[in-house]
């Protein structure tokens, strides 16, 4: 009896503890950790430096992140200088050679993605917080999500060859889910192709392009610059003239000005979630789009119904 119990316990322990060392994956954004988790399955352990509800441009380089980075096997970043304000010194202090740019454990997720708004002329800071390598909010296009997932699978396979078949299988499953999702999202937003919206920060070019929507204007006069009264007046006039139905705002900006703009123009102010984890419902990359698409389609439908 006792022997059986011991054998059973051993078996249970064996079943519970995976027979492989988990890969420690640190990502700058929760979106990447969600994809890495989908692709890596139980073979990876993910940690995101920036939370989905926080402004990814301004992350504090906390020493606790150094600890995470020092033990990481893989670091996945958005690149395009999105992390320039906090990540380089953390990598330096991590004393982890693998995750330095160019190292085997450093993955720039922008590689191969459709990057929009690469400045062509001279770039100066008079233009606000411009990103000289293009708009870094590219993960908000599900096609780019697919590219990112493949890149992550390829890199995980490289770093952990015994997991190859598992990564390939997880990738296929993720891509299938994504394809299913894209059908849903296209169907929901399809009727509104060409609709114009106003957004707070220029975080959505990839999302809007994918769903054939157009950003008619921004609440920020220039990226990273808070709205001035003159700009607000201009924006209100533009929105009334073009009958723009919605304003999209990221959860980490002050709602005061956009709220008053929405009141004056009759538009709906939507708190749009730019990253996984921005709201509890957006718990992974697929449900992030489910959430945003449902929110936007709902608002656009309501406006269409009420408009004469």
């Amino acid at each position: 009896m006792k022997r059986i119990a011991v054998a059973l316990a051993t078996l249970l322990t064996l079943a519970a503890s995976p027979a492989f060392a988990t890969m420690k994956v640190v990502t700058s954004l929760q979106d990447f950790s969600s994809i890495a988790e989908a692709v890596g399955g139980p073979r990876v352990e993910v940690f995101a430096l920036a939370k989905g509800y926080q402004d990814p441009h301004f992350v504090e380089p906390k020493p606790s992140f150094i600890l995470k980075l020092s033990k990481a096997d893989l670091l996945i970043v958005a690149g395009l200088e999105l992390e320039i304000g906090y990540l380089p010194p953390l990598i330096d202090q991590s004393r982890n050679e693998k995750i330095r740019p160019g190292g085997p454990g450093y993955l720039d997720a922008s590689a191969g993605c459709d990057i929009l708004e690469r400045p062509t002329g001279t770039v100066t800071r008079a233009m606000g917080d411009v990103h000289p390598f293009g708009n870094p909010h590219y993960w908000l296009d599900p096609d780019n999500g697919r590219v990112i997932a493949r890149a992550i699978a390829a890199r995980l396979t490289q770093l952990d060859p015994p997991g190859a078949s598992s990564y390939a299988a997880n990738l296929a499953a993720f891509e299938a889910k994504l394809t299913e999702g894209q059908k849903r999202w296209d169907a929901a937003l399809g009727p509104y192709a060409g609709a114009e919206v106003v957004t707070y920060h220029n975080s959505w070019p990839n999302f809007l392009k994918h769903f054939k929507l157009v950003a008619a204007g921004y609440v920020e006069p220039k990226p990273g610059v808070p709205p001035s009264p003159a700009h607000v007046v201009e924006l209100i006039n533009l929105m009334i003239e073009k009958k723009i139905p919605v304003i999209l705002i990221e959860p980490y900006f002050d709602q005061k000005t956009p709220k008053s703009v929405a009141e004056k123009t009759g538009a709906t102010l939507l708190t749009f979630i730019p990253s996984v984890g921005g709201v509890p419902e957006a718990k992974d990359y697929i449900s992030l789009f489910d959430y945003d698409v449902k929110l936007l389609a709902g608002a656009l439908a309501a406006k269409k119904g009420t408009r004469p």
Binding site: Q54, K62, S64, R95, S110, R146, A151, A164, Y167, K209
Partner: protein
């Protein structure tokens, strides 16, 4: 057995070389279309995953698209300039400052040297001339979680001393920097030597780091003076950092320094410091609100021909973020003078800061100081600071 393994890898390698997208074989997935087509992407039949062993290499990640055209300045260091303009009103006979002054222009050059090291050079241009503020190489790839630095660097002593002037929450530095560390206004204590630091993980995701620094025996403009070349100055620091949830974190640290002060061939100075930093920055719910409390305690024991001077210094400062670009803060400070501990200076200050962008700052400070023996100074400052170029992020 070995041959089979070899053949297996050879076959895999060959497959890769030929560009066979092995991962696509079991489940034909749609190719990513960078320009989204209206056509719905074909549903990949998620084939039952019985991937056979041979060559399970997925498609290699595509080339980074980000790299701009090759340009001849590619390996040049990142260069940045930080200008610091200071205007002052009020009378201060002890620490006078001009009505208008370009206090310091910091020029930095920062680059990766090779796969093993990076180098940082900070030059300070002021009316007194050019000074090498810091110039050091950091060796990043040492074993046992070590990191080493060689050159001239700000000493790891307390918290404020490690920070650059333009990252301080005030226009000036608190009294112990002048009275205990004997630094001129606007400067911190730097030394030339080597520094080794080690990362030590404590339970509960707690970060800690230990520093050991050995520098030339004469540094800090009179703080340490070595009677002989072999009389070096030693500095040790241990700091612990811990997050409390998303929104709060605390750092505490202890520093100890020992060296010769040159008042006689054997006289030494020991310095101790305890620092405490508390930060509150809610990640959600309250955009543009934050609070930082900084405090340091200094203790100096300086042997002099007239006996040992035991001097203590202290400051505490709080800074609250009022809005996206607005901050306000207050500071209390006192310090005995290291060379004559019977003289104690005291002061209070209040600041108001506006940051039009990450790259510029306007700050007003009101300061009241009472210098021993009873000399009072009421002053107002206005600071304009700007940063141009590719200034690297600062350590936390």
């Amino acid at each position: 057995m070995r041959l089979r393994t070899f053949l297996f890898f050879a076959a895999g390698g060959l497959a890769c070389a030929l560009g066979v997208q092995a991962q696509d074989a079991p489940a034909p997935t749609p190719t990513p279309s960078p320009t989204p087509e209206p056509v719905a992407t074909p549903v990949p039949t998620p084939a039952p995953v019985a991937t056979p062993a041979p060559a399970p290499e997925p498609t290699p990640a595509p080339e980074p698209a980000a790299a701009p055209a090759v340009n001849p300045t590619f390996f040049n260091p990142a260069i940045a300039v930080i200008g610091n303009f200071l205007a002052s009103v009020g009378h201060n006979p002890v620490q006078p400052s001009p009505a208008f002054q370009v206090e310091e222009s910091e020029v930095s050059f920062q680059a990766i040297v090779d796969p093993y090291a990076r180098a940082d050079l900070f030059l300070s241009f002021s009316n007194e001339g050019v000074e090498v503020e810091e110039a050091y190489a950091t060796f990043l790839t040492l074993p046992w979680q070590l990191q080493a630095k060689g050159g001239k660097f700000k000493m790891q002593f307390g918290k404020i001393n490690t920070m650059h002037l333009h990252t301080l929450p005030w226009v000036d530095e608190p009294l112990p920097m002048q009275d205990i560390l004997l630094q001129p206004q606007g400067e911190s204590w730097a030394g030339e030597g080597v520094s080794v630091s080690k990362l030590i993980e404590l339970p509960g995701d707690t970060f800690s780091e230990a520093y050991f620094q050995v520098i030339d025996g004469s540094s800090g403009g009179g703080l340490f003076i070595a009677p002989t070349k072999g009389d070096l100055t030693y500095d040790g620091q241990y700091r612990i950092f811990r997050d409390f949830g998303d929104d709060h974190n605390v750092e505490v640290g202890f520093s100890y320094v020992y060296g010769h002060n040159g008042t006689s061939p054997t006289n030494t100075t020991s310095l101790q410091n305890a620092h405490f930093v508390y930060r509150w920055k809610p990640l959600q719910g309250k955009p543009y609100r934050s609070f930082i409390l900084r405090s340091e305690y200094f203790w100096s024991q300086r042997e002099q021909p007239d006996g040992r001077q035991d001097a203590q210094g202290f400051f505490v400062g709080g800074d609250y973020q009022l809005g996206r670009r607005w901050y306000t803060g207050a500071r209390y400070e006192f310090s005995d003078r290291a060379t004559n501990a019977s003289l104690r200076d005291k002061g209070v200050a209040a600041t108001f800061t506006f940051m039009p962008s990450e790259f510029s700052m306007l700050r007003a400070e009101y300061r009241y100081r009472e210098y021993a023996p009873g000399i009072r100074a009421n002053e107002g400052f206005l600071q304009i600071q700007f940063a141009i170029g590719a200034h690297g992020a600062h350590p936390f």
